[in-house]
Symmetry: D2
Subunit: 133 residues, 4 copies
C-alpha cells in the first residue's frame, strides 16, 4: 500500500548549482511520513504529549538519481516494508512525472522523548500499522 | 485583494524551543508570494529563463507575535500594497486560526539574474499587477 | 563595543539564483548574537536550564543590500544599542570585505520557555549587559 | 589521513525534539568535505567557474546513533576511502567528545554544471587526491 504526497520546489529548497540541495530530500521524505501517519490518525505532536515518545530516523540509505529544480512539482511515494516492536522500515522515492529523482530506505525508531532510549511502539500505532502493512 | 496560502508546520521548521524557528516564517512568506505569482500566471523559473530577471526581497520589517508549533496548520495572507516600475510592496501575515503569529512588510525588487542590477518589472507582469492592485 | 563573528557561505546557504537565500542571513545574525552571549559567559542552553527562560527575536527590520555568494567569507558585526528590563536592541550588519551585504535592527525579548510569556532578563545577564552597553 | 572540522550547534540546527534535526548532519558533513577540498587548494566555486563541473553527492548511507543538542561542539571526521575517474568515496563521522553522533558513507560524483552528466574529475584535483589517498 503506497502513500503519495505532493511537494512543490521553492527557492528555499534549491542551491547555487540550480537544483534542490541534497539534504532537503530528507525533509521531503519526512513530510511524507508525517502525512502518512496523520492519515492513519496519528499526529507526532499528540504522540509525544500522550506517550512521551517520539519517532526518529535511525538509518537511511539514499540514492540521488537526478536533480529536481525550482518550481518542479514532485511526488513522494512511501511504502511501509516492515514493522517490529520498536522500529519501522520504509521505502520512499521521489518522482518528477515519470522520472526518479531519488530513492531511500529509511529506518525509524520509537524513542523516549526525554532519555532518547528505544521504546516499544505505542499499542494503538502498532495495531494500526499491522493493518496497513 | 488578499491571497491566502496554507502551510503545515513540520519538524524541519521547529527548533529546540519547541516552536517554529524565526527565519522559517520568511520561507513561508516567500512560498505564499510565489504561489500568488503562479496564480497570476507567472513562474519564477520561467521569468528567469524568458527575461533574465529575478525577483528578490530587498527589505523586510517583521514582527514575531506568537509562536507556531509542530503540526500547526497556518495561513499566510498576502496583500499587494503598491507596485512601482521596479518594485512591489506586500503586507503579509501568518495566522493560526484567529491568532496572529507574525506580520511583515516586504519589499521585492526585480534584478538582472547575472549582474544583480535593478531592472524594470517585465511588462506582462507589471500589467497583470496593475489589475490586481 | 562591536562584536565580530566570521561566517563562511556553503552550498546549503545558497539558492538557485546563485546567492545566499535571504532568510539565511537571519541565521547568520543569530549565530553572531549567540557567540556574543557566549563570550559574555552565557549559553542559551544553560540559560534555559537554569532560569527556564529563552531569548527570542520579537522584531526585525532588515535590508538586503548586495548578494553574498558561495564560498564567500563574511563578517557579522553586532552592536548592542539598548537594554531594558525584558528586551535588547541590536544593530547587526553583514559585510564581505568592505561591502555591506545586509543590515538589520533586531529586538530580542526574554520569554518563559513553557508559557512564552515575557520575563525580566535574568539579573546576572542584565548586569553583564549594562557593562557592555 | 583524516580531516577534522569543528561544528557548533545553533538553534537553527535543532528541532522540537530538542536535538539536531537529522537532515542537518548532511549539511555538517558537506561543510567538512568542502573545507577538506579547500585545504587541498580547491574551491567549489572556482572549480565550477574554471571547469564547468560541480561535485555532488550521489549516494549516502547514514546511521544516526545519538542525538546532538543545542550548543554542542561537534567534530566531523572525514576520510577519503577511494577515488575513481569520476567519483570519490568518503567515510565521515560526527563525534561529540568521545561519543559517536552519526556516521556515513558518502559517494560524490563530478557532473557537468549545465547538463548534470557525469564527468571525469579535473586532472589537478585527481592528481591531488591520489597523493592524499
Amino acid at each position: 500500500m503506497e502513500f503519495t504526497w505532493p511537494i512543490r520546489v521553492y527557492y528555499e529548497d534549491t542551491d547555487a548549482a540550480g537544483v534542490v540541495y541534497h539534504s532537503n530530500y530528507l525533509k521531503y521524505m519526512e513530510r511524507a511520513r508525517t502525512e502518512w501517519l496523520r492519515k492513519l490518525g496519528f499526529s507526532q505532536e499528540v504522540l509525544r504529549e500522550e506517550t512521551g515518545n517520539i519517532i526518529v530516523v535511525s538509518e537511511m540509505d539514499i540514492k540521488f538519481v537526478r536533480p529536481a529544480k525550482l518550481d518542479d512539482m514532485l511526488e513522494v511515494n512511501s511504502v511501509l516494508i516492515k514493522v517490529t516492536g520498536a522500529s519501522f522500515l520504509f521505502e520512499q522515492s521521489i518522482q518528477k512525472m515519470q522520472e526518479k529523482i531519488c530513492s531511500a530506505r529509511v529506518k525509524g525508531v520509537c524513542l523516549n522523548a526525554l532519555t532518547f532510549k528505544p521504546q516499544r511502539l505505542p499499542a494503538a500505532l502498532k495495531s494500526e500499522l499491522s493493518h496497513v502493512n
